[in-house]
Symmetry: C2
Subunit: 196 residues, 2 copies
DNA sequence: TTCATTATATTAACACTGTTAATAAATATA
DNA sequence: TATATTTATTAACAGTGTTAATATAATGAA
């Protein structure tokens, strides 16, 4: 019962890495316990020696993607001017991360009825991630009297709704059809929300 | 091979009605061919004598729900003053229809990776439905010079994005937690978009 | 009415899904 | 080396959509 910690972590990672590859590539529709295990080089039942169920495994991926997304956004926004311009950059980078990995958007915002990711706290963490990324800049804006506390709250709400709407329609429903059109719509929406 | 038309339509409706009941009640997660057939009083394989596959059946439901949604919106907005106020009423009614039947929202805007509803034209019809409902009022606004053609296009786009974002987060992710909070957010968003 | 043909409904089966229990294999301990 | 423990695998269950083969019901002609 007292399993070697290092070995256990290593084993877990084999499965997590396999699952991440599938999610990034084919997306949620292609993931299955047998699929993950095969890619990890083990039998499907072995997975259950390291995870309670597939939800637990998938949520480990969610946490990793979350970190990756944070880094992607950081890299894509650090050179922007602080305040409103950086909020715009952060949001654009956030959107582009999910455009690059539609399967991860599915996992973060769409999936619910199927059997992955259902812990309440997990959901709060996911839906709050744009908020968390923008928070330093929102505080900066309030401190410099560019925004009131109330208008900052309102703005981050509007941003999240528009981002989720834009991405849901583009990723899930192919509307608009091209990336160029999509990004033009993104620009319009963000300008309207951020620059009033 | 030359089946009685009336009987065929009747049979189709038995399955469609059964599927609609399930979708309205438990939602997409609970639907299955065996489930539908049992509720219709037939064997699961009989369904395939009347539909090519379950996607075809589900899309018949989509069309029905579409009509029902139109009527619901019509009833909830016909007494509003024409122009911008009615656009707001239409959008609110549209939102409330999906709040009442979250499973239908799933079917209309979320589902894609799973195996229901995938014909391209069908998707266009669904995502264009708010646009279609608002169109007479948008034209009215342009004619009365309340809006320019360009600002009308922009408005309907923003409306759709916000509506889908609001509903996705509320239905799929329980954010915000209460209906009251949700409707307050709806009001804020719609006011911001429609009344500038 | 009886028989043959056609149309419709049903059961059995296939390939998948997540998960669990029983078994096989590998490792560690004495 | 022999025993005990840990880890991995196969077999199985209940579920999914779908298809082929079979059973039942309805219809036609004699």
């Amino acid at each position: 019962m007292v399993r070697n910690e290092i070995q256990e972590i290593r084993m877990k990672e084999y499965f997590i890495d396999a699952a991440r590859e599938i999610l990034k590539g084919e997306g949620l529709k292609s993931i299955s316990v047998r699929n993950i295990a095969e890619r990890a080089g083990y039998s499907y039942a072995t997975l259950y020696n390291y995870f309670n169920d597939v939800k637990d495994l998938i949520f480990e991926c969610v946490k990793d993607f979350q970190k990756e997304c944070d880094q992607f956004v950081e890299a894509g926004s650090k050179n922007s001017r602080r305040g409103l311009p950086r909020i715009k950059s952060i949001t654009k980078a956030y959107i582009n991360y999910f455009v690059q990995y539609p399967g991860i958007f599915e996992l973060f915002f769409i999936e619910s009825t199927n059997d992955f990711v259902n812990k309440k706290t997990d959901l709060q963490v996911i839906t709050g991630s744009l908020n968390r990324l923008c928070e330093p800049e929102l505080i900066y804006c309030v401190e410099n009297e560019v925004l009131t506390k109330h208008s900052a709250d309102k703005m981050i709400n509007q941003l999240l709704y528009s981002v989720v709407g834009l991405l849901t329609l583009y990723i899930n429903r192919r509307q608009p059809k091209t990336y160029k059109e999509f990004m033009a719509n993104v620009e319009t929406e963000l300008t309207n929300i951020i620059n009033k």
